[in-house]
Symmetry: C2
Subunit: 374 residues, 2 copies
Amino acid sequence: MPTTELDGFTFACGDTVDSLTVAYRTYGDYTGSNAVLVCHALTGSQHVRGRADGDDRGWWPDIVGPGRPIDTTEYFVVCANVPGSCHGTDGPPADGPGGDPWGTAFPPVTVPDWTRCQRRLLDTLGVDRLHAVVGGSVGGMNALDWARRYPDDVHRIAAVATAPRLDAQCLGLNAIARRAIRGDPNWNDGDYYGGAHPDRGLALARQLGHVMYLSKASMADKFGRRTATTDTALPADPAAEFFATRDVESYLDYQADTFVARFDANSYLYLLRAMDAYDLAAGLPSVADALAAFDGDALVLSFTGDWHFTAAQSATVADAFRAGGAAGVAHHVVDSDYGHDAFLVDSAAVGPPLADFLAAGTDGAAVTDATGGV
Amino acid sequence: MPTTELDGFTFACGDTVDSLTVAYRTYGDYTGSNAVLVCHALTGSQHVRGRADGDDRGWWPDIVGPGRPIDTTEYFVVCANVPGSCHGTDGPPADGPGGDPWGTAFPPVTVPDWTRCQRRLLDTLGVDRLHAVVGGSVGGMNALDWARRYPDDVHRIAAVATAPRLDAQCLGLNAIARRAIRGDPNWNDGDYYGGAHPDRGLALARQLGHVMYLSKASMADKFGRRTATTDTALPADPAAEFFATRDVESYLDYQADTFVARFDANSYLYLLRAMDAYDLAAGLPSVADALAAFDGDALVLSFTGDWHFTAAQSATVADAFRAGGAAGVAHHVVDSDYGHDAFLVDSAAVGPPLADFLAAGTDGAAVTDATGGV
């Protein structure tokens, strides 16, 4: 797994680390004008496609790859694990200067830290200007942040299922998720690496996320009120034996159990805080001001069933790109019941507009614009 | 606080208790034909108006009282705390036969148990036939259950912000809430009455409920992204100090802290399970079959901003009343951003249709019917 060391990386909080390890993947060959940066979502990784050792499929295999909408025979795709995460880039579980895991002594991270880290990684790869930045969810915030921070370094921006900032409902749910982790006695003020991990708290946080990523309609379709069995590490609940366990509970338990095995609780706290804190317009009068220096094409892609990052929020991003003077702007709305997860699972809907946008900007054949009444 | 003892109460699970203590309140005077049963929501109590000792306002003071929409100078209002709860009616924290708290040895409770308990309480009060049953949220399920179980004993049914059964999204969120409680080490398999209570788990469960009861729009209005201070019993989180605490988090923390002081964690588990398990059509082909024997008037009242119990779910209840042959049926939809909480807080919208429905059934002047295109 390729990594690079960024010397003297200073975070937005003011802390500097002597050397920041950044884990990344590239796919395809660089021609000098075909680089596409993909920004991963909250718990994602640099593995857009399967890991180098082939042990899984990655998180966007139907969108990125040879012959895929983001065609790696045509584009040089780069994806880096963000600082604060736990897939190889430095974050709380990584070893700190003293050789022990950083834990909560790792500097707090922000989305702009991710952007600056990506910029420096691209420098090491010899990539000056990007053909495009593409990202979904908080990765979409990351993509939008490129338009604010490095407007001259990117030709096209595709921001998928995202928003300029979280609203109160998402802030509230994320605060509950963090409370679940902090309230787990095994969290131990973030210092748990030598002992039992706060798996129960992290599992709860992740289950809450799962419900946020699905829609009411998709959950009704997928689970209904069907019954199932479940097997968790929680204490038994004899008073519950009279009642059926529901399929949806079994699913959430399974998802949580697999998640805690692959993700770090402190990283989850760090990345949730970065998402909560992000405001594309921070320090400026408006989102349009944040995007004013970007003069390329922008695709804002949203899903009708997404209650986490709504189509209405995406519409405000598209309006801001327009007001800021971007060359072309399209708000492509996908009619989907999948919820927020649609950007990951509804490849048939996401692929064509992304492919055509990369090839031809907002003139791309499959790119529609809801503002135009489509 | 009045209580009654119901001898030999057998629960739906098959367990019988020798004597079930039921705490209730009545307001107004009984004339023989003016009894209105009010069914409380999940964490509600018999105190529709202030407690007898005057220490709070109760949970529906603007709807029930002298000169209020459910006018206690006209109606004899009865409300009982449901079995499994913790406001005086027997449930897990009440003393069991051996003198110690029941804990999880208390029989699992169901909504039909509540209905049968209310029927027996009314027998002790000399009330044969009710003028109306009114309830919101799971109390609305309880009201609907009257139409199924005692169709000849009730003249009018008002089911507010409710559904014939929960959908997968609500089942999932409730399962997460229960997991939060069970996962708190202080829960101790439900046996915590002699020691520390699972306050952290119960607080999380309640916070999740709060987000379910509000709407995305109402949270945006109420909190936005404003910052605040918060003070919780959780361990400090030094890595969070760089970031602002949001008003919404402070609100949720405050609500949770006051809630854990007044509610029992096992009761919360019991009542959530009763709500999850409830299906108005259980054992029957359809909801219409469940309501077929009821031939009075039915008011189904819903709120556009309620994503917990949606207006669409209420529409199916109204349709089922119609198909079942009720005398009059109205689905009164209130345009409201308050979310599920609207039934408690939007008295100006809820009061008039309720008042007119009690007085004149679905012919009441303020009662509208969305099915009729209103």
